[in-house]
Symmetry: C6
Subunit: 78 residues, 6 copies
């Protein structure tokens, strides 16, 4: 099986955010493994604000986890 | 009764993610124990983006718990 | 008044999950105390995937609380 | 102004759960202060499973806060 | 720019709850800055139970943050 | 690639709130990268209370993360 999640640790907050997006998308793939169906659904979804906001909520939840895992990157320059 | 959740501890983040998916599905089974009905519902659900995003949200919430239980696998190679 | 929640501490993660399911159901009962109405609503709800996923979300939220209360059962065999 | 929330500390988990229910209801009152309108809305809501589950989600979120505030009542007998 | 959030610290849990309500409303204002449109939308929303429960969920999420910031006001009399 | 998230650390709670709003919007952009489509969707969304409340929920979730990262700005004057 492919390793797609070797670690929750990232160098920067922004990479952590990208990881949160990835975590959000994998759940969709596991529920609907057929890429063709996902592609068919994508247009109606990406033009639907409810779906965009709901996706944003999933990313926010995953980002909370990734940020905690990284001690909030407190040593990163602000 | 079958033991399906002996521990929240996993070796890797990815196994932790798989456990989060499992935790999400068990709740559905407990609410609708009839496998035939669940199977009947599955197609319309797996082709519905709102449902896919909502499932992704449940996985994210459970992954937060599993990740915390594992100390975020901080010793895992990044 | 009946004591239905003497403690958040459980012996195993799986018992903790069962408690999370219980916590989720009690809120429904407190909002709709009439068992007859709840029974009437149950069929349409248990055959509706949106409702099943939403229930799963509530269980996930309560499981996070129960798991934290139990220190994630870190001594449990994995 | 009436003091309705003197403390988050409760003697038992069950009282903590009751407080979580109270916290959930106060937000509804603050958004719709007119009791007559709330009463008019209640029947359709209490017979709607989506609304019942959504209420259960709010209670779960508030219970997480109350439980953390009380150190999960770890000294309570299980 | 007006300072509307000088601190998350409040004297009592109840003031913390009020702050959570404020945090919830500001997000709506930032997304829809036009007060006239917000006022036009308010009646249909305040008479819609789904919207009332969803608002209650946002308040619960913000209250969790404010409560953590205040160490759950553990010194407050119960 | 542009650095849009150099740090989660902010000087004040209010700047932290602004960052939470930014985190919420970036997820929408990543899902729907076409600015023209986002602009087309915005009016119907900004005049829809369900969408406004859902956005507020995402901001609340991200604000919890930012607030934790900043130790809740406990040294800020109240």
């Amino acid at each position: 099986m492919t390793v797609w999640l070797p670690s929750l640790i990232t160098k920067t907050p922004q990479e952590g955010y990208d990881l949160a997006v990835k975590l959000s998308r994998v759940a969709v793939k596991l529920t609907q493994p057929d890429a063709a169906i996902r592609e068919k659904l994508r247009p109606e979804y990406a033009e639907n604000f409810d779906a965009l906001i709901a996706s944003s909520q999933v990313v926010a939840t995953n980002f909370a986890t990734v940020a905690a895992a990284n001690g909030y990157w407190k040593d990163t320059a602000s």
